[in-house]
Amino acid sequence: MQTFDYLRPTSLEEACAALAGCNGGGRALAGGTDLVVQMRQAGLRPTLLVSLRDIPGLAFVELGDDLTLTIGAATPLASIEHSPEVRKHYPAIAEAASFIGSAQVRSRATIGGNLCNAAPSADTAPILLAYGARATVTDGSAERTMPLEEFFTGPGETVLRPGELLKSIGVPTCPTGIGKYFKTFRSAMDCCTVGVAAWVDFEPGTAVVKDARVALGAVAPTPVRSRTCERLLVGETLDEALVECAGAAAIEDAQPISDVRASASYRLTLVSVLCRRALEAARVWAEKGAVE
């Protein structure tokens, strides 16, 4: 690894100013589990690393009284995976965090790092999109908040301008409904081949879909919503036939590439299989709820 300047500021203002002032050669350092690998193996040579370690208020999980969930960008994935609040109210987010890397990686890797690397296969992205999460970005003084979907602009690219940092992720209240995330991968520690997450809210006591969000990972330049699938679901009764149709429809919003992990056509098949699995879980959940 080549040497670099290393700063450990204690405020967002300082961190953003340092990153803005180094001609694009600076990188924010959170867990480092991707960044250090890129520096050691992929020839990435930042001139400055700005550690986020000592900035207060960047690593937290907060459940509001109204069950809104806010997660600080520098929160390690292990803290999300093991958070009693997340496990209770947003179990699919805890599960998605637990899918990433190993226990050692999750101790260090942060949710903000996972999102800011903007890999189309980022494991935390589909379930957050399905829950309608919003991203808050700061330049050290002003903040802007946007749907997480708009945070991603391409493979490895986000809306972040030089000197801007992701500050937190907010999940709006989902007091009803169910979120599920399914993914396929070749083996432990591998990136996901395809990931599909769905959140479905039902009319009380019925299997009629009141609202739904379906999100796809690793099948487009960014994690994406499948609005074709969502349109098909809303207002309809979620039965086995609709699960089947919706799974097939999700393919419309996927533009996968062929790479070392899978061919494009195999990925399309997986989109429909995983989408059916997520919706089937929601269907069974509604059936139980309607019966009780």
Partner: protein, 164 residues
């Protein structure tokens, strides 16, 4: 660029002048001279370099040393107490869960962290917990058995090892 580093390793304070790009693994092995922590893949895949940072398992090959400034590191050398092996170490010996031994320090520390968090893991939870530790001698069956044995040993005399 060198910077001062204050780090506590196995309870001992170390004050070092360390280049910013040194990893925690390099500092532990080359500056402090504790070679029980192994250098494997250098990319966070194999777990041979696992140490506990404030009790949490981390890949020391991916952790910049200065990120551990002011914090507590436990390496395999710090696990036994007064010459008495930690129950996880004892269990690995008892079950013959060691072949060449290269993965063992990482396995033992990962297993310790797992049992600290979850004293009664299922077999699946043990496998999941050790996902980031590779053994190239294909010894996983005995390793999982060793973690199960450690689980029993800790149940019997865990209080003696509290705070380690």
């Amino acid at each position: 660029m060198k910077k001062e580093l204050h780090i506590r390793i196995n309870g001992d304070e170390h004050h070092l002048l360390v280049p910013t790009h040194r990893t925690l693994l390099e500092v532990i092995r080359d500056e402090v001279g504790l070679t029980g922590t192994k250098n494997g893949c250098g990319a966070g895949e194999c777990g041979a370099c696992t140490v506990l940072l404030d009790g949490e398992p981390v890949n020391s090959c991916l952790t910049l040393a200065h990120e551990a400034d002011g914090h507590d590191v436990l390496t395999i050398e710090g696990l036994a107490r007064g010459g008495v092996l930690h129950p996880v170490q004892e269990a690995f010996i008892e079950e013959g869960a060691i072949q060449c031994g290269y993965c063992t320090p990482g396995m033992v520390l990962t297993a310790k962290a797992l049992l600290d968090r979850n004293p009664n893991p299922t077999r699946e939870e043990i496998l999941e917990g050790l996902r980031g530790n590779l053994c190239r001698c294909t010894g996983y069956v005995k390793i999982v058995e060793a973690v199960q044995t450690a689980q029993c040993l800790l149940e019997e005399r865990g209080s003696e090892w509290a705070g380690v």
